[in-house]
């Protein structure tokens, strides 16, 4: 067993993990943060994306022991404590950027990572950045629109659905 301590959404979290425990498993099963979804468990779908020291990472393809000492941000830390959605979450709601919602945590976390590095991405840059996030409902148009809107850009130019 390995003792790990990390900061998750601003709070210190510690635990004992097996070498093989995945970060996604630690977040969901030890910390109860089930907003991080495990879709494919093969690092394709991106539903499990969280931020590790500010960078988007597929938490199903990182060992929890590797996150010892890291700052982790998950979907649970995105809204304000009173439940007010952040600008990206609100934009997903406003632009109907989700249907079943399964991929949404990963989409929001990837979008947040993109906008941190590139505050005004083009439609093409958004689509390329979401290569590792699969959505089986929306056809992506409304997700792209939501991210354009969250970055304060006009969404009318986004390719018609």
């Amino acid at each position: 067993m390995v003792k790990v301590t990390m900061t998750v959404n601003g709070r210190t979290a510690s635990g004992e993990v097996e070498g093989r425990t995945l970060l996604s498993g630690f977040l969901r099963e030890e910390l109860g943060l089930t907003g991080t979804h495990v879709g494919c468990d093969t690092s394709q779908c991106g539903a499990c994306v969280v931020h590790v020291d500010g960078k988007a990472v597929k938490s199903c393809t990182m060992l929890a022991a590797e996150a010892d000492g890291a700052e982790i941000a998950t979907i649970e830390g995105q809204a304000a404590p009173d439940g007010t959605l952040n600008v990206i979450q609100q934009a997903f709601q406003d632009h109907h950027g989700l249907q079943c919602g399964f991929c949404t945590p990963g989409m929001v976390m990837s979008a947040a990572a993109l906008l941190k590095d590139n505050p005004k991405p083009s439609e093409q840059e958004i689509r390329e950045y979401l290569e590792g996030n699969l959505c089986r409902c929306t056809g992506y148009h409304n997700i792209v629109k939501a991210i354009m809107a969250a970055s304060g850009q006009d969404v009318s130019a986004v390719a018609a659905e």
């Binding site: 093989r20 960078k55 990182m62 060992l63 990837s110 590792g132």
Partner: protein, 262 residues
Amino acid sequence: MYEFEFEKPSTIADAVKALGEEDAQALGGGQTLIPTLKQRLAMPSTLVSLSGIAEMRGVCPDGDAIAIGGATTHAEVEAATADSYPALSALAGQIGDPAVRNRGTIGGSLANNDPSACYPAAALASGATIVTNAREIAADDYFQGLFTTALDEGEIITNVRMPVPQAAHYEKFVQPASRFALVGVFVARFADGVRVAVTGASEEGVFRWSEAEAALAGNFDPAAIDGLSVDAEGMIGDLHGTKAYRAHLVGVITKRAVAAAA
């Protein structure tokens, strides 16, 4: 996954010592190894993480070359080589997806030597030197076939020294589901010749296309490739493309790479 112990040394010496244990295995970014472990295709006793070794991270100039620490992530290579080696930066920025690029490392990719990976093409075309904890290996001697390299058990890629060509380009024909190269060609023009490395195509893994190199040395122009072809025998044939299709793509993608580099 089967059970394993986890160690995270902070020096190369400690990592080498940990890898001396029976069935210990090095862990780079884990973007290939962790899925492999999930499939129970590997059963290491101990995983030795290389991500905590500061001397193995980062990119720095080294004369006419750049030196890249073995534990440097694809995203870090992309950012750090944008000015010093743009073709390499572009290659790093096309691997997998953004989250994969934040974990996967150049040393991990080269140690794994997947026949469809991108970095082997860059290393071979650049005439890189693979620096390990024990020795230096020329790229021409390093790649030895499908998932096979010159590395010994427990040997770690600590650094990769890439000479920077006068002109270069990596052209990748992406397999859209996996985003690996269906065929990828790295073309590099140096003062003393041209090197062409092809990934994704051959059953033997990355290879140099010497006929194209000779033709391009005299005339660095896509037209120099006209009439040249690689033998379809020995190419990978699978549900994504036949052997003949891949052989054809090698010519097309090489031309595109030269056009973009010229």
